[in-house]
């Protein structure tokens, strides 16, 4: 115990009063601010949460009941649970991975700087940044552009999506493709006029359409029955109309595909060997598959995972640096001994490293779970207004019902109290740790 007057001044009443006055002068401004703006409001919020704030009547726990029965608030609470379970875990695991993998890499300091940088940026700026990343249109959104590029590399897109047969020409939809309404005899060439292909998607090798040459095998032509500037006749091959090359055509008999072929540059096709009988001729569905356009990241279904992804981007560096500091403090001889005993890298990680840095992992997890519970800005900026109901969390809902047009202070106060109660356990853990370490 440090004695204020241990420097030899005599204790006395006057001196004691002066001491109190000095302490009050030092502590007073801070204490007054906190009392008026933090301590008293806590009590007032608790009081408000038990009242109907429009009439002032005491309503007991009715606001809390509404909190768990209203669709939006229930959604917010459930989302918060998902957040708390998923986000800190992913960040910690990623941080551990990065910390271990970059331990002996020379540029890891530069990497740490880069990974840690998002922590300096406001959630608002991060939200704006990731709006661009998550933009649904693959022409604009970087993530979808990358996904589409990868997807198309493995399964190239169909050339003729959006194309449909000319009305009244005897072609009907079938399994995503189009086929002749009735079986046609092999002896008669099949005319398959289609429309709906924008000019910029007409294949460069497409040649003017022409009637198939005479022959005995099942044959026909697929062409774009559209004359630019008008004037063409529906169902007829006019002078400027082009054939559609590379179209997959199937011959169907008794519901079975018996042969397939592909059109040439003029849109003509022939089924070698099919000389007799009647067939249904079908333009296969694979010609018309809509192209992959990426994923609607900020739509109702994926908005929470998408925002959690952004959260990981912000906090991974924090976790990595803390864990790496812990790794640097590990006793070397233990690791050396394990290695000398022939343990594999994976065994060392699982049996030696993780148990030794476990206390740090717990600190990271707890810190992040407190942070996640209070998250507001990111969810207020990143998801477009139309999906905020789906992205909702408690802190956001508290703002929305109290200030964002709702003015429902009773429900807002109940949500604030809930938030406080949720933060309490991890916070008590942290306070205990802080007192132990006297940080």
């Amino acid at each position: 115990m440090r004695r204020f007057f241990s420097a030899g001044r005599p204790p006395g009443r006057r001196w004691r009063n002066e001491r109190r006055l000095i302490a009050a002068l030092f502590l007073g401004p801070a204490a007054l601010t906190v009392l008026v703006l933090v301590a008293y409001p806590m009590a007032h919020t608790l009081w408000l949460s038990l009242h109907d704030t429009s009439t002032g009547a005491f309503v007991g726990l009715a606001n809390y009941g509404r909190m768990f029965s209203t669709e939006e608030t229930r959604r917010a609470i459930l989302n918060n649970i998902v957040w708390v379970v998923v986000a800190p875990t992913l960040v910690t695991v990623l941080g551990l991975m990065l910390a271990v993998l970059t331990q002996r890499v020379r540029w890891s300091t530069a990497l740490k700087t880069i990974l840690f940088m998002p922590m300096a940026i406001s959630f608002l700026a991060v939200g704006v940044t990731f709006r661009l990343v998550y933009d649904e249109d693959p022409e604009r959104g970087a993530l979808n552009a990358a996904l589409v590029a990868v997807h198309d590399a493995f399964s190239p897109p169909s050339r003729y999506y959006g194309v449909a047969p000319r009305d009244g020409t005897g072609l009907v939809p079938a399994d995503g493709g189009y086929e002749t309404a009735d079986p046609v005899p092999a002896s008669e060439p099949v005319a398959m006029p289609v429309v709906g292909l924008p000019r910029d998607r007409i294949p460069s090798e497409a040649a003017p359409a022409s009637r198939p040459e005479a022959g005995v095998e099942l044959r026909g032509v697929v062409w774009l029955d559209f004359t630019r500037g008008g004037g063409g006749e529906a169902g007829e091959i006019d002078a400027t109309e082009v054939g559609l090359p590379g179209m997959r055509v199937e011959a169907v008999r008794d519901g079975q595909v018996v042969a397939t072929t592909t059109t040439d540059a003029s849109g003509r096709f022939v089924f070698p060997g099919l000389t007799e009988g009647d067939y249904i001729v079908r333009l296969a569905a694979t010609n018309f598959t809509e192209p992959f356009r990426g994923v609607t990241w900020l739509g109702p279904r994926l908005v929470t995972p998408a925002v959690i992804g952004t959260y990981i981007w912000i906090w991974a560096g924090f976790a990595m640096i803390l864990i790496q500091a812990g790794l640097a403090g590990l006793p070397r001889d233990v690791l050396e001994a394990a290695r000398a005993d022939g343990a594999s890298d994976w065994q060392i990680l699982r049996r030696v490293t993780v148990p030794l840095v476990w206390p740090i992992l717990v600190v990271v997890l707890v810190t992040l779970s407190i942070n996640v519970l209070k998250i507001f800005d990111l969810l207020y900026v990143l998801p477009p207004d139309s999906v905020q109901d789906e992205a909702n969390v408690v802190a956001l809902e508290m703002y929305r019902v109290s200030f964002g047009g709702g003015l429902d202070y009773g429900l807002g106060s109940a949500l604030a109290v809930l938030l406080f109660l949720l933060v309490l356990p991890p916070m008590l853990f942290t306070i205990r740790r802080r007192r132990r370490e006297r940080l």
Partner: protein
């Protein structure tokens, strides 16, 4: 006073620098020449470090990519941004223009909000430091009844989420006639910054050698002089760390500004307004967000050493 030199190891440890680990052999250890590793082992090591290097570069690029995108987008016209992705500008640099920034700087709503951010962040930080240091000093070195209880309460208050106070404080500020104005935003930030500041600084002040305080008092220095000439210089690393954290916290804040600062919106608020029509306002949003990031990033690169420490302490706020 020369207390700065006595600052103990409590000064922020830079966790960004790798820690040197001395390798000492006990005396009398025979000098061993390490056996030459087999060719296979060396090959694995080279490939392994190569893979790790590729991994590091890939991760680094992955993390830089979003911010790079924002930066490039801020240099393209709204028409370009709605027609194609920012990466097309990498092969067509003629798209890049400073027009957005020029327009932004003549946009009074935005420049005014940037100034509002400064007007909020600087006093908030200064007040938290001043009031926090005074209070922390009292809790560390003045002896009065209830001191320990007050400290425990301060620690407990660090856990309170701001949501708990939003509604009642709106009423308080309304009564004071400052609801919606900058003083309300400042006061709220100060009130919620203080418990943590007191907690941090009090513990730091306790590391001050008692002899120095007593010597100064015996010389007849007033308590305020002891505070100013002995305690404050001693605590500058903690004060710097706290200032950095508090400043960034306020600079980046959106929630408090939304509730209490609607008459004088800071930059975060002003940009959030624009995001309602994101695609058509991208020529304001992207450069605005980038300008609002500039100050935190400059601070980050200048004070990297303090930064981690302050984030670690403050992450719990």
């Amino acid at each position: 006073m020369t207390s700065q030199r006595n600052a103990p190891s409590a000064s922020p440890v830079s966790l960004l620098e790798p820690m040197p680990v001395p390798e000492l052999e006990p005396a009398g250890t025979a000098v061993r020449i390490p056996p030459r590793p087999s060719l296979l082992k060396r090959l694995v090591a080279i490939l392994g470090s190569g893979a790790a290097r590729v991994f590091v570069i890939a991760i680094g690029l992955f993390w830089l990519f979003p911010t790079l995108g924002l930066a490039v987008a801020s240099l393209r016209s709204a028409a370009d941004n709605s027609a194609s992705g920012w990466w097309t500008a990498l092969t067509a640099p003629s798209q890049l223009t400073l027009d957005n920034y020029a327009a932004l700087l003549s946009n009074e709503r935005i420049t005014g909000s940037l100034w509002n951010t400064v007007l909020i962040a600087v006093p908030s930080t200064a007040l938290v430091l001043a009031l926090g240091a005074l209070g922390a000093y009292a809790l560390a070195w003045l002896d009065f009844r209830g001191r320990d209880l007050i400290f425990v309460l301060a620690v407990a208050l660090t856990i309170v989420p701001v949501q708990v106070a939003l509604i009642p404080d709106a009423a308080v500020f309304r009564a004071l006639g400052i609801f919606g104005d900058i003083p309300a935003v400042i006061l709220f930030h100060v009130a919620f910054g203080l418990p943590f500041a007191v907690f941090l600084l009090r513990n730091y002040f306790l590391g001050l050698p008692e002899d120095m305080i007593e010597a100064a008092r015996a010389d007849g220095a007033s308590e305020f002089t002891v505070f100013r000439r002995v305690a404050l210089p001693f605590a500058w690393p903690a004060l710097g760390s706290l200032a950095l954290f508090q400043f960034l916290w306020v600079w980046n804040d959106l929630l408090v500004a939304l509730v209490f600062g609607f008459n004088n919106p800071p930059i975060t608020y002003a940009i959030r307004e624009q995001t309602r029509a994101f695609a058509s306002n991208i020529d304001v949003i992207a450069p605005g967000a980038l300008i609002s990031m500039a100050v935190p990033l400059i601070l980050f690169f200048t004070f990297q050493r303090y930064f981690l420490r302050s984030m670690l302490d403050g992450a719990l706020k």
